[in-house]
């Protein structure tokens, strides 16, 4: 019979408790998000015994929004985790691939140029996101087979800065556009409906599965390029697959809800502080944590500044940033 070392057991208990707590937070966030909203007469009690009005409100307005918040948390969190793993850079996030800014550029073009306007703003945002991702990827050498993490980071920053500058350029030209795009560049899911939610959620489960499949590769890349290769995981392949995963997840999210920069950058760090450095645990942890954070942020965004709704990205940062700060200040094990 195999004996379990004491340290292992304690770590297991802590981990189990954290996981339970996380699932609890997701459930609380989901229920809270469902039970608040513009129609204050539809509340918590109506979740279980809805009348016709409540059923309409819940199924047509609140449910798609709540599900969207959770999926955003999952998609952006995992995209950020993958990028931080493959670049081995704690400052990496979906914004560094230029994806967020590319989506904003697509949208701005749809408003300014009639040709692009015909395509429709939402599709233009997706095209912009993927265009920026592909360009960054090409600059990093992804198509030549010799991809380099440093080039990926720097190329992404350049593509992002350029795209965002062009967006701001279009603001300068026309004031009206500024209003519709600015609101959108903060990150917002107020008016989301089922079609957008389904598009978003369709990628969440495949995203988690793909990240799980890559998780051991992420672990090995953390040991350095040579060591990863020595253990049988070609780091170039990891870099390629991780980039594609992050680009798809972030691109879809941005096209639906706009750039919510906080989640992709910080949720992976929160998970790492709580659960350690093994990506096989981090992938589900990031998914849970991202979903919980965004659900709570969604609920608070409806309550905090009522009757105006605050942008969900700002609320997520408002809850998450102080927590992150506290963990970062206390954390051991640097240098």
């Amino acid at each position: 019979m195999k004996s379990v070392p004491a340290g292992n057991l304690r770590a297991g208990i802590v981990r189990g408790a954290s996981a339970a707590l996380l699932l609890g937070a997701v459930a609380v966030g989901a229920l809270w998000s469902l039970s608040t909203g513009g129609r204050s007469d539809v509340g918590f009690g109506d979740l279980f015994r809805p009348d016709d009005l409540a059923r309409t409100v819940l199924s047509d307005i609140r449910a798609p929004r709540t599900l969207a918040a959770a999926c955003l948390g999952i998609n952006l969190g995992i995209a950020g985790l993958a990028l931080q793993a493959i670049t081995r850079n704690p400052l990496a996030s979906p914004a560094i691939l230029g994806i967020n800014q590319g989506a904003a550029l697509g949208l701005a073009l749809a408003f300014v140029l009639p040709i692009f306007g015909a395509v429709g703003p939402e599709l233009m945002a997706i095209l912009g996101a993927f265009g920026a991702g592909v360009l960054t990827f090409a600059i990093a050498g992804g198509f030549g087979g010799r991809m380099d993490a440093m080039r990926l980071i720097l190329g992404g920053v350049a593509v992002g800065a350029f795209s965002y500058a062009v967006v701001r350029f279009t603001f300068t030209l026309e004031d009206d556009i500024a209003r519709s795009v600015v609101r959108w560049t903060v990150g917002d899911i107020t008016d989301i409906r089922w079609d957008a939610t389904l598009r978003l959620s369709a990628w969440s489960i495949p995203g988690i599965i793909a990240a799980m499949i890559l998780s051991q590769r992420f672990n090995l890349v953390a040991l350095g390029q040579d060591a990863a290769r020595g253990l049988g995981a070609d780091p170039r392949v990891t870099l390629l697959l991780g980039t594609v995963l992050a680009a798809v997840l972030a691109g879809v999210s941005v096209s639906v809800a706009g750039p919510i920069s906080f989640t992709g950058l910080v949720v992976p760090h929160l998970a790492r502080f709580l659960f350690g450095g093994d990506h096989r645990i981090l992938v589900p942890a990031v998914a849970g944590l991202g979903a919980a954070l965004m659900l709570l942020a969604d609920a608070l965004s409806k309550v905090l500044t009522a009757p105006i709704e605050a942008p969900i990205g700002a609320i997520a940062a408002l809850i998450g940033a102080p927590w992150f700060l506290w963990l970062a200040v206390r954390a051991k094990g640097f240098e």
Binding site: L91, Y164, A165, T172, L173, T305, A310, I315, V329
Partner: protein
């Protein structure tokens, strides 16, 4: 002639040419001969008002702030040992924006003339908070970066929150101030910040070799007789002041602080004794060109320099990225 010196001379020549172009273009185009006449007070046609009152101070301000932001970014990237670091990471931009908005919401709006002071204070305060919090445990580049992100996001969340809840008209003027533009800046702005920025840059150049030693890692640096913690604090303070003072007069020119050091590194390599002066020239050149183009490109409209630095700088940076070998990461 060594390669860095040659590149430095090319950049310097380019900067002088760009400054002359910057004096020539705008709502009224001025021929070169008139510019020379005016500057040197020679006989012949002059354009005293436009050049001396408007374009000259503005161009000089572009040189000084561009150089300062680039130098600040180069120092912060070296201290944090992270290529994604920039003045933004130590909270300058977010702190300045939050301070300006808070001054509107809490104090009911301060006169526009005080905004630079408020912005600079906000930026320095944010950097100070980040450094103090990061000092709770032994400071390391990684912790400094993470704490910087956390403080920056907290301030950004505050900014977004105020933007959503406040009355748009109260905050629109202060916001325009922060968007990274040299529009309507004059001698008074230049006089207020240039002497300080030039002194700070001089000190940074003198200390540049310390950056090279710090890059070896704190153990090695200590072994070479350096008081790492003190040196890091001094350099970070200098970088903070350079960025915060620049942001206070021209707003957020985010791209310069991040990219000018990288462009310089791709041109002359990573030794800071040559990197800092080259970064300084690159930063100045970028902002002068962007400001001049912003006036010339679309007649009647001023396009802010913050936008154009990225539109011109990013493709050039990508070109360098594709054509040059990247130094191996330490």
């Amino acid at each position: 002639m060594t390669r860095p010196l040659r590149i430095g001379l090319v950049l310097l020549t380019g900067l002088i040419a760009a400054m002359l172009v910057s004096l020539a273009v705008g709502a009224v185009a001025i021929p070169l001969s008139v510019i020379v006449n005016t500057l040197l007070d020679l006989d012949g046609p002059q354009q005293d008002f436009i050049i001396n009152r408007s374009r000259l101070p503005r161009t000089l301000l572009a040189v000084v702030t561009g150089a300062s932001l680039a130098m600040s970014g180069a120092i912060i990237q070296a201290l944090l040992r992270n290529p994604l670091a920039s003045p933004k990471i130590i909270g300058i931009n977010s702190g300045a924006a939050l301070a300006v908005l808070l001054s509107v919401v809490l104090a009911g709006g301060v006169p526009l003339g005080f905004l630079p002071a408020v912005a600079a204070l906000g930026g320095v305060a944010a950097a100070a908070i980040i450094y103090i919090l990061a000092e709770v445990r032994p400071v390391s580049p990684a912790r400094l970066a993470l704490v910087g992100i956390a403080v920056g996001f907290t301030a950004d969340a505050g900014v977004d929150f105020i933007l959503v809840t406040a009355d748009t008209y109260d905050i629109s003027a202060p916001l325009v101030w922060l968007t990274g533009s040299l529009w309507s800046r004059g001698w008074s702005h230049l006089g207020a910040v240039a002497p300080l920025l030039i002194c700070l840059m001089g000190v940074c150049l003198l200390l540049s070799y310390r950056l090279d030693i710090i890059r070896l890692g704190s153990a090695q640096a200590t072994g070479l007789g350096m008081h790492v913690r003190r040196a890091r604090l001094v350099l970070l303070t200098l970088a903070t002041l350079l960025a915060a003072v620049s942001v206070s007069v021209v707003g957020v020119l985010g791209f310069v602080g991040l990219m000018a050091p990288h462009i310089a590194r791709l041109l002359v390599g990573g030794a800071h004794r040559t990197l800092l002066p080259v970064a300084l020239l690159v930063g100045a050149l970028l902002v002068v060109i962007a400001d001049a183009a912003g006036r010339a490109l679309v007649p009647g409209i001023e396009i802010s320099a913050g936008i154009l630095t990225a539109i011109f700088g990013a493709p050039f940076f990508v070109f360098l990225l594709l054509t040059r070998e990247i130094e191996a990461r330490s």
